[in-house]
């Protein structure tokens, strides 16, 4: 069985995000702290668990983006993925989920993956689209926000539970091959082992130029970026820690909360 895991490189959530001079996209300095999208760590871990449970499972990992994303592909291999595939773009720019999904689907089409895993959402763009789009482009069933999965019927069917509102779970069967988007909390992602880390360091990453993949036109266009207005109701409490603490207690007391 072959599994493909989509991994995206994102800027760490605590780093400042700056709109570039042209206003066309955000600026990523060379020192920006990049890491793997957290939801994709959960997806990769889930793939590794399937591999440990069944014989003959190989895991490929794929990422779409500029040269910097190869470090995230390598990180996935350190965690235990067998092969890395990089769909290489020239630069950091706004890409739509449809373009990313089309590129990944066109690669996956010629390779028989029983299961394709993606994260529930990318932490930067926050679309929650790419997995579902890949599934539709490949005419495969898809379940999103997956919190539990089990391969059944000798590998023909996948039993899945997805997390929905108020802690409820929807239970469904998918016919394989299928696509899942993984919700955070499904497992605890592992740290790379030394042997995998050594192997990953030397491993070749298969690089494909995005322009060779016939990616369709954008279906959505970005026309503006801005910083959100801080809501007028908010007051920033200033001072030393002690002064802030005193002011806050004063406010809470006035409101009869303490």
């Amino acid at each position: 069985m072959r599994i493909l895991v989509c991994v995206k490189q994102v800027i760490d959530g605590q780093a400042p995000v700056v709109i570039d001079e042209t206003g066309a996209w955000v600026k990523h300095g060379n020192i920006s702290p990049f890491r793997m999208n957290r939801y994709d760590e959960f997806a990769l871990e889930e793939a590794l668990r399937i591999k440990e449970k069944f014989n003959d499972v190989t895991i490929d990992t794929i990422s779409f983006g500029p040269p910097r994303v190869s470090s995230t592909i390598r990180k996935a291999m350190e965690m235990g993925a067998n092969e890395g595939i990089h769909i290489l773009t020239d630069e950091d720019s706004f890409v739509t989920p449809f373009e990313v999904a089309s590129a990944i689907a066109s690669y996956a089409k010629t390779n028989t993956y029983e299961i394709i895993l993606a994260g529930a959402m990318s932490e930067d763009d926050m679309n929650s689209q790419v997995g579902q789009l890949i599934a539709e482009l490949l005419h495969r069933p898809c379940a999103t926000l997956v919190m539990h999965q089990e391969i059944r019927e000798g590998g023909k069917e996948l039993y899945v539970e997805r997390e929905i509102e108020a802690g409820r779970r929807e239970c469904l069967y998918l016919t394989l091959p299928a696509v899942l988007t993984i919700q955070s909390g499904i497992n605890t992602p592992r740290y790379p082992s030394l042997s995998n880390a050594l192997r990953a360091r030397k491993a070749q990453i298969l690089t494909i130029e995005a322009k060779d993949l016939n990616i369709p036109e954008k279906r959505e266009r970005l026309t503006g970026l801005s910083y959100p207005e801080v809501s007028s109701k908010g007051t920033f409490i200033e001072g030393t820690q002690k002064e802030k603490a005193k002011k806050l207690l004063g406010i809470l007391h006035e409101k009869s909360l303490i």
Binding site: P97, L133, E170, E220, T223
Partner: protein, 327 residues
Amino acid sequence: MKERILVIAEHHKGHIVPTTYEAITFALELNSLARAKVLVMILGKSVNGMANMLAETTGLDVLGLEGDHLEFYNAEQYKHAIEHAIGNINPLYICMTHTAMGLDLAPGLAVRLNASCITAVEGIKPNGGKLSFVRSMYGGKIQAEIIPELKKSIITLLPGAWKARERYPDKKGSVQIKDVHRGVSISRTFSVKESEEESLNLDDADVIVAAGRGIGTEENLHLVKDLAKIFNKSAIGASKAVCDLGWLGYKYQIGMTGRTVSPRLYIACGISGSSQHISGMKDSQTVVSINLDPNAAIFNVSNYCIVEDVTTFIPVLLEEYKNFVEA
């Protein structure tokens, strides 16, 4: 072909989910800009009652799609049913909420109907004869305006971004119910499990002190617990990140896939303020947030914002509280 703005209604246990009315508000706003009539679509095993209720309260036309296979939401069956029911309707926009259902359905449906797809939308702006849709990125630190390039668009709306209307036209919309056939079943939803975790009395608490990943370690949880203790009728809560890390059980989770709370006071400690978290606590009367990052999105929904390290600030706050009580 009749041009329409379509709203896909969501329901649970025979009741329309409240966010459906937010999607209707959005559709009516689009209607005033795009001049196409709004049609509400509801799918299920038996939807006659809910369809009539919707037509009565909103004054809008409602199309119900029925079939035994639609008892539970299922992406494959919904896409199949919607694609076939649309027939000679030309939906310029298909609107639904960005819920577990909406985000599951929208992208695939967009590919099938050859439509643009924009998710988690929070605003609309006219843009040179077209409409752009505003959505957050980077955990709410950036807002993007996006224009659909295709004739049809599927839009999912961030829960809470539009308010349900209080008044609708004083007339009843038409109701039409159609039977739909089952699509090829490469996916079958057969049940919905209720939450296994018994709920805490988060609903009764006057004050909720909530922990986020920013507390740093499980050991630091005691800070949040100690802070909660200074209030009467208080409880602790958590972001999903904290529950995922196993620092607290899922019954403490507040937000879209956790509990919805509206205490008199909500104190967010080291919580970034993702839309999914905010949707569970935005109706709190007073919100105080403590976060190291002055640009954290949680400050956009807070009454009092404190830019500090929670691990050092809470001890100072507890110390000052002691002085305060003694004084």
